[in-house]
Each structure stands twice: as C-alpha cells, then as structure tokens.
Subunit: 476 residues, 2 copies
C-alpha cells in the first residue's frame, strides 16, 4: 500500500488537479479497453509537465511503488491497467498534450506524448504534410501509447510501423533522469539507438514524454479497388505483383473474408465477397504528374489476367471509396455487435498467409466445427486478425478464457511454426506475458529480462507488463 | 598479453586456418581503411561457424581479453582496428560467408554476417528482387559491418538506413550466448526490439553472425536528371517539391559542388556545374505501368519554373545515366588523387542544409581562407560530406590531426547548434569517441554506458570503440 506521506507529497508536487482519488473519476482509468481486466489504484496522477513526470518517478523510486503509464487507454493487451493490489499508481499522460512544433521543410512534427493521434494528424495537415499513422482508435489513442505499443494500423505496408516514423524521443527513466534525444535527423550514427528500446516497451522501461515524428507529402490522390477473389487466389503472389506493378505506391492491401463482411450492417450490396474473400487495394500519390488511376487500372488488369479475381470494382467517386473503407473499418464494431470475438493478432512471413489460413481453419474446425471465424486484416504486412466469434448465448468472458486456454495455443503453434508470431501489432501487456515467455528464443528472453533489469531494477515501471527484471545479463 | 594457453585452445577450436599469426598475413587486418590507425594483435581469428564464434567469446570471457570483430574492414572511424597493446584479438567474419536463403514471396534474404554486400545484392537479383543497400564499398564491405555501422549510402532517401532493412538478427553475446531473432516478419510486437541495440553498435555489444534483410521489387526503370543549380537555390524547398511531385519515387537527391566536380578526372564536359553546384536526381520504379520519364519531366518542369536551375539534363541513354553516376561516385577517389581530404560526416535537419553550407563556409574561411572544400553528398537525407582538401605539399596525417583539433570543433558546433550531428553515417568507432562524450545529451550518454555495461560488463567486446561500460544505470 502506498504511504500516505507519498500521496501528500504527490499532491504538493502535482496540485489537486494532478491527483485524482475520487472513485468515480478513477473508474475509467482502471479498466482496459476491451473490458477484460480491472485493476485498482490509490490515485491517478496527471502531470502537466515533464518536470512533474520526473518528480513522480523520483517519488516512486523512493517509495518503491509501481507506476503504470497510461495514454489513451486503448491497449488490446491490458498494457496500461494496474493490478488488483491497489498499490500501483496510474500515470496519465493526458495533460501533456501540446503540439510542440511542426517543421514543414524538416518534414517533422514534435509533440508531447499525451497528444491524441488525430490532433497530431491535423497539425501535420495544417502545415501541408501528412502523418502516416492511421489506426481505428486515432480519435482517442495518444502518441505515448502509439509509441509504447509500436502501433501498426492501416498504413504499415507503405510507411512502416510507428518505430519507422519516430525520429526523436524524450523519456523519463525510473529514477527521474531525463533522456532527451529529440533530434529531427534522418541519419545520426552516434552510439546505440537507445530510442528503440522505449518504442514498443509499453512503458516498462521509462515514461515517454515527447517525440519527433516523420511527416511525408500528403498522398491526396488515391485510387482504390475492391477485388472479389477467386477461391484459392494466391495472396502472396498477388501482393508481390501489386507491389511490383504499383512501384510500391500501394498503401493498403487489406483482406476481408465473406464472414467478416457479413458482420457489417448496411454494407453496400454491390460490394460483395468473391469465393475467396475480398482484397481492398489502395494506391496513393502526392504528385499531380502521376496518373494514379491509370496505374491502378494497369495493376488490376494483371490481377484479372492472372485469374485471381471474379470481379474488380474501382472506386469512381470519393463516396464510393469511403464506402469501401467504411466496410473495412467497421468490422471490429460488427464483431462487437454480434456478441464479441476472441482476437488473435497473428503475423506470418508474407509468403505464408494462405498456408496459415488453411492450417488455422483446420485447427478451428477440429476443435469445434460450429465455431465461426471473422478473419480480416493487413495481409499486405503478413498480419491477420484471426478472430473467433463468440457463439450466441455464450458468456463473452468465459468463452474468451476457454478459447485462450484450449484453442489459441494450437493457432499460435501454427503461426510460430511458420516463422510467425502471436502478437503482430497489439503487443504483450499483461495478457500475453505467458506467451512471450513460452515462445521467445531463450537467448532473446534473457536479453529482454536483462534490459528490463537495467532500466527498472526495482520494478517500478509498469510492473506486471511484458517481463520481470533480471539482475545482469553476462555472468561474472 | 594473452595467455599462450588461450592461443592453444583457440587453435584447437578453430583449426590452423582459423588462427592467423604470421605477421605478413596479419598486417591488412591491423590497419584501418583510411590508413589513420594501426594496431597490433596476437592473432586474427577466423571462425567458420556460429558455434566457433560462441567458443571464441567463451574463451575471451574466461581470459578477459578483448575481441575486435571485423567484417570488410572499411570503417571510416577505425571501428574495427585493435589498439596498439597487442592484447586484443581480431575476429574476422570473412569465413562466415554463406547466403542462407532467398525467399521471393517473403521478400527477404537470410545471410551470414561475413557475406560481401555485393554478393547479397547478386543473390537477391537472381531471385528477381532487389536489396536496396548501395555503398561505395559494396564490393568489399560485409553485411556484419554494414549492420554494425548502420550503414547509409546512396539509397537512404527512398529505402532508409540499414536499420530500416533488417528484419532478423542472430548475435553471439560476450559470454558466448546465442541470441536468435531471425524472423522475416514485417510486424512482431513481442517485447523490446533487442535487434536495434546491435545495429549500429560496431560490435561493442555482441558479434552479429547472421541477418535477415528486406528485399523490394527491382526498380529497374530509372530516370535521372543532372540539375545545374542557380546560385542560392533553396535545396530544402527543392527537395520538398521533388519528394511531393515524384510521390517519393525519388531514390537519389545528391549534391555536388563545383569544386568536388572538378576533382573528377575525365568528367564529361557537358555535365558541368551550375553557379550553385549540381543536384543529381533519380526517380526509380519497378512498374511497367508507370511512365517514370514523364514523371521526371513533370517534376523538373516545376524546378525550372521555380527558377532554381540554370539547366537540367535528363539522361537519354543508360550510358549517359552511368556517366552522371560515375562522376558522383568517383569524387572520393578524386579527393584521394588530389592528396586526400579531412572528412566531416555532417548531418542537419532537412530544412537546414543551405544554412549549414553558409555557416560552415564562413567558419572555414575564418580559419584559413586558402583552404579548399570538397562538399557533396546525400543532401536529400540532410547529410553532407563536408571535406577539407589536404593542401598540396602538406602531410596528410599531420593536416588531418590539425584540422581535427582546430577546425572540426567549429564545424561540429555549427551542426549541433542546428540540431545536427557530427556523424551521420560513418559511426563513432575509435576516432569519434571523444565527440560522442562531448556532444551527447547527459542522460542519453548515461544510458549508452549502461547498455554497454549490461552487454559487456568486462569490456571484452571491441574495447576502445564507442563507449566504456558503466555498472548499472538506475541508482539503488
């Protein structure tokens, strides 16, 4: 239990607005986005400056209490939810919400880590540039969480993961030390790239307080196709062709199965599934000299010629394009409306997606032929959202638990056996700690624990997430 | 001095071919690429398997002797040269030279770290794909060194640094532990991205023995322009325009000053400098449906219209294109022929390149107006090779030393003041250790030393390069 003296000192440092203790105000901070994990906390701390974050970490070090950094609280792995002991504080980044600078010629934006992704997107747009990070939760997730989970999303194929977009980083360590590496450089080979340790670390190594992100020219010219696949269309070969013949101007290559499509209420009847599902392809360009529609037509001509499509619909209007994307983007909502789903955030090498669909489908059928799958996702990145729908009438939490114990291991084994992973973009958090320990290469797992031990020897940084610290790495 | 018993055990482990001690055969391993640093070693170790690398590191840990990993020995910062004590072994990667696999549908190549870059390029090409790493030294540098220095080169603008191309990594730690993280995944959020610590670490944290690298569709359609710049042409604005209007299909945006151009013997007389120097622009594409020449013409039309070019020559034949590139690529040779140069591998934010050229030029003139500069480089990445020519008659080493002491600090101060760096792509090695300590953010420098201490507490991994280990990072 935290010392009341500590709480008193926190109040002095952060002011009344910086320390929430009222149970009603605490509640939303203590449950994860998917309502799977509920925790307790003596208070939610809301620093309004980097210096206040440093002060919090110095107190946490002194009193040896856990600090759970929380940004937009949209983790899919309960990465930002305190445990049930009531001894861990939540550190909310929401008041660190300034866009520090947008530099058009440097093609960079500097932000506090509490800035909501959509606000950063808007600030970039106001300067005539584009922040190529696009997530379903962009209206509520915050940059600190985006960085902490190395978020993926809808633009990874073209622009990479969050890691690929971070130029600079500012971090407060477990003892309150400020590490400033906020340069806007494309090239800077001056020692270990320590930024990378914090990206995707889910706040277990330090608190990210600021970041510089890469911007790009606005890809405002888009050409979008809805491809109704033939049965057995070879997705890896199709991806290779689309990448090559679009000269990697393909920014989305999204897979939608017929079952996932059917979950979307009010889907445009003209946009139907092929026997093999659907691929939503989008090319985008920032140039007025590049005929993007003709390019898409050329690429799609080859797809049809290869016999991979039953039909291809190329969006002729912005409204039609928006319809296609609405379908893709409302699948998670459709699943929720159906009664929920158990999510498996699988990724395999690009060449193995079809193999995984076959083997995964067989494993699910073997477990229970009545189960229904909703499979869709960023197949252009080798990433499938492989979700099992909660059967009508079953309790969502109990079903989630059962599938996690009885079916998921088989699916993960298949993915790992293909050189894949059990978490492509959602992270580890509290829900996948055991999977990490089970599947990680032993040498790599030792390094993970060693790094945690270096940055957080006393276990105050988001304890319970990812891994526990180990003392040292190399024997004496 | 290493124990003779250790040498004996190394011979037993590696065989006679694996332990070179003949002074004549040792010599080339003991001097750096630029002939600035000469070291000594009791032997050069040439393991032919990963298990042998592990055995070497176990022995090094036991006897507490330094191991200096060396790949192609092309470091510009003496990152792979042992010290003069005669107590450090060179570990050459040259016999770890197998291309393990090329997977076209996964768009990935797996290699031993001793593979020469050009061989990896050729293996990718044989599979119909392209490895977008292009360096002046590609015929002799090896993948382990490319990764150890996070090499940049000629394609960074489009495809990123080496870091951006590494999918998987295999590393032997200081105690012989094997860490295998050789996945080919685009997305894998399962714990800290420990690969990143070894990329750019110059062998100071472990020995990289294998890697998986990203491949892309072959950009075999190229369109190239030689832009003779007007005086004062704003390079950042021009870069922004070229990026936008080429939709980032620009793969090179290289700056050449008139003085650098004049160093190249036999330069095509038609390819001359404008008042403001030259920009070599290349667009490239893998698509047969994309009219790349028309795209370049459209972009160049805007450059001319903006008043930034005195003339633009678009290569009409492959031979003309090769001429343009030969000029750019033989500048280092031209400098050598002139009598050598003192190199400053500067980078600044994209928007500050012209500012740096002005301020840097003033600083050089203030120091000695007779000095001549050869300035060229990857200005599309904010990276300038800012080189001072060795005046005829002066001793190269003495001049290098004097400039390093008397002029370089002013240049680096200017770059750092603009948010830039003293090492864009060459690294730190042994030559820039002092600069790293001087310029690094104090918090960041503490983390650098802490990481070194975690992976190499006994200082056996390339001791003398980068930083020295510190014990711990977070106070008790």
């Amino acid at each position: 239990m935290p010392d009341t003296a500590m709480l008193q000192r926190l109040r002095e440092t952060l002011g009344e607005a910086g320390v929430l203790t009222d149970p009603e105000r605490l509640a939303p901070y203590l449950v994860d986005h998917r309502d799977l994990v509920r925790g307790k906390a003596p208070a939610v701390l809301r620093p309004s400056s980097v210096a206040q974050v440093q002060a919090i970490m110095r107190l946490a070090a002194e009193y040896r209490v856990g600090i759970v950094p929380q940004a937009g609280n949209t983790s899919y792995c309960a990465g930002a939810t305190p445990d049930a002991s009531g001894g861990q504080f939540v550190l909310s980044l929401e008041r660190l919400d300034k866009v520090r600078a947008v530099d058009p010629l440097d093609a960079a934006i500097s932000v506090d880590s509490g800035v909501i992704l959509q606000r950063a997107q808007e600030a970039a747009a106001a300067a005539g540039l584009y922040l190529p990070l696009s997530l379903g939760s962009e209206g509520s997730c915050r940059i600190g969480g985006v960085i902490g989970t190395n978020a993926g999303g809808l633009s990874v194929l073209r622009y990479g993961m969050t890691r690929d977009l971070v130029l600079g980083l500012e971090v407060v360590l477990a003892d309150g030390t400020l590490v400033s590496d906020m340069k806007k450089l494309r090239k800077n080979n001056t020692g270990y790239d320590i930024r990378q340790n914090f990206i995707g670390a889910e706040g277990t190594l330090g608190v990210v307080t600021g970041a510089v992100l890469k911007l790009i020219p606005v890809p405002h010219r888009r050409a979008t196709a809805w491809v109704e696949l033939t049965a057995g269309a070879p997705l890896p070969e199709m991806l290779a062709l689309v990448r090559r013949e679009s000269s990697d101007l393909v920014s989305s290559f999204e897979f939608i199965t017929a079952r996932s499509l059917a979950l979307v209420s009010g889907a445009d009847g003209r946009l139907k599934s092929g026997s093999g599902g659907v691929i939503l392809v989008e090319l985008s360009s920032s140039s007025q000299h590049l005929p993007i529609e003709e390019l898409l037509e050329g690429v799609m001509g080859e797809v049809v010629e290869a016999g991979w499509a039953e039909d291809v619909i190329i969006a002729q209007t912005e409204a039609q394009r928006a319809d296609m994307w609405r379908i893709r983007e409302t699948i998670p909502e459709g699943e929720k409306h159906f009664g929920g789903s158990v999510k498996h955030d699988i990724s395999v090498p690009l060449g193995r997606t079809v193999d995984f669909l076959a083997a995964g489908g067989a494993a699910v059928a073997a477990y229970d032929p009545a189960l229904e799958l909703s499979v869709y996702g960023h197949v252009g990145d080798g990433n499938l959202h492989y979700n099992v729908l909660v059967p009508p009438g079953e309790d969502r939490l109990a079903f989630t638990d059962r599938i996690g114990r009885e079916l998921a291991p088989a699916l993960y084994d298949i993915a790992i056996g293909m050189g894949g992973t059990f978490s492509a973009e959602h992270g580890v958090g509290r829900l996948k700690r055991g999977l990490l320990q089970h599947y990680a290469d032993p040498g790599r797992y030792r390094v993970l624990r060693g790094i945690k031990g270096l940055f957080d020897p006393h276990g105050v940084m988001n304890p319970g997430a990812m891994v526990d610290p180990a003392e040292g790495l190399i024997a004496d």
